[in-house]
Symmetry: C2
Subunit: 216 residues, 2 copies
Amino acid sequence: MSTQNIKVYQDLMGENEKWAAATRSLLKEKNIAMINIIGSPGCGKTTLIENMVTRLHGKTKFAVLEGDVETTRDAERLDVLGIQVSQLLTKGACHLEAKLVNHALCDLDLDNLDLVIVENVGNMVCPAEFDVGEHAKVAVLSVTEGEDKPLKYPLLFRLAGAILLTKIDLLPHLTFDIDACVDFVKQVNAVPPLFKLSSVNGTGMDDWVEWAISVR
Amino acid sequence: MSTQNIKVYQDLMGENEKWAAATRSLLKEKNIAMINIIGSPGCGKTTLIENMVTRLHGKTKFAVLEGDVETTRDAERLDVLGIQVSQLLTKGACHLEAKLVNHALCDLDLDNLDLVIVENVGNMVCPAEFDVGEHAKVAVLSVTEGEDKPLKYPLLFRLAGAILLTKIDLLPHLTFDIDACVDFVKQVNAVPPLFKLSSVNGTGMDDWVEWAISVR
């Protein structure tokens, strides 16, 4: 039998890397930055992006790709703010893959963009395993979740280019030990900047947004 | 070629169902109940179980199977309370599967048990897809996560035999709309009881523990 008759199936992760590389190449050609925001359901990802919208509006041309298992609720929250936003529905899958992100990216007005913000599916485990072509993964941990999560879910924190501790306005009502948390983060990844944020009172937001727009 | 030479590979979910059935059969034989607690990282699963330990100690003979991606931190928290506890490490996987649970179960002193509490990996998506032989899945949502999660992660809430709203002591500091959340839960699953709990001040714990020990 000739090898021409043999069907070759690439493994799925290899296929993912191919699409991630295509995205990275397109971003470079168009001089666009892309961040991939990952954290648990309810850690404050969408609220964070709402805050970024108000700070970046009129200064930075950007779009949001909203990953969700089901519903278009998060995209609707951002759409009313008058920015380019697309909803990426995984229909049950627990993470975004590079192919879907690439397809959504190609449909944006790329000649009119500086930054693409990808909000991944709410999940601290699986999304970390998938490169979607971003310049940086951003790990989000709300202080209501407890300080030990960097040790318990180390892959995300190990791969992150920046780490955000959100909801710090709630610290007075919690037993969360912020110094211990920072120490746990450093045990798995000493390099990335760590921003302590509150979407309620704006703490830390200026520094974080400055980092986000200069990523590349 | 004879069919005897053809290797048959069952799909992974079929394999999972086989182990779940074996667990269910063993639990029935030994007259043991089992619940499978599922929710995001930091939603308060381990703290909830710590509270159950103090309430059930000396009344109900029970064991905890602690699912985690990495570390034995949660099992250590429970071990000091003097109960049967085993750590189930998934080594990167985002959920528990029935085979691992069955193996851990078989190593327990089954003739001396009324209830097995499985704490799944912190993740609102994938663990819901895997039957581990439990009598009921229990969905945990902390009020810091936002009221729309039952719509955004419907599979877990649809399959749950009970739904726990945790950290309700923090409600005065949040914009969480508890009536809207209950309504969203009912949109995906009107049947199960819903318990509003605080591990800090004990609210709702008696009713929840009573439900848990009578599940079957």
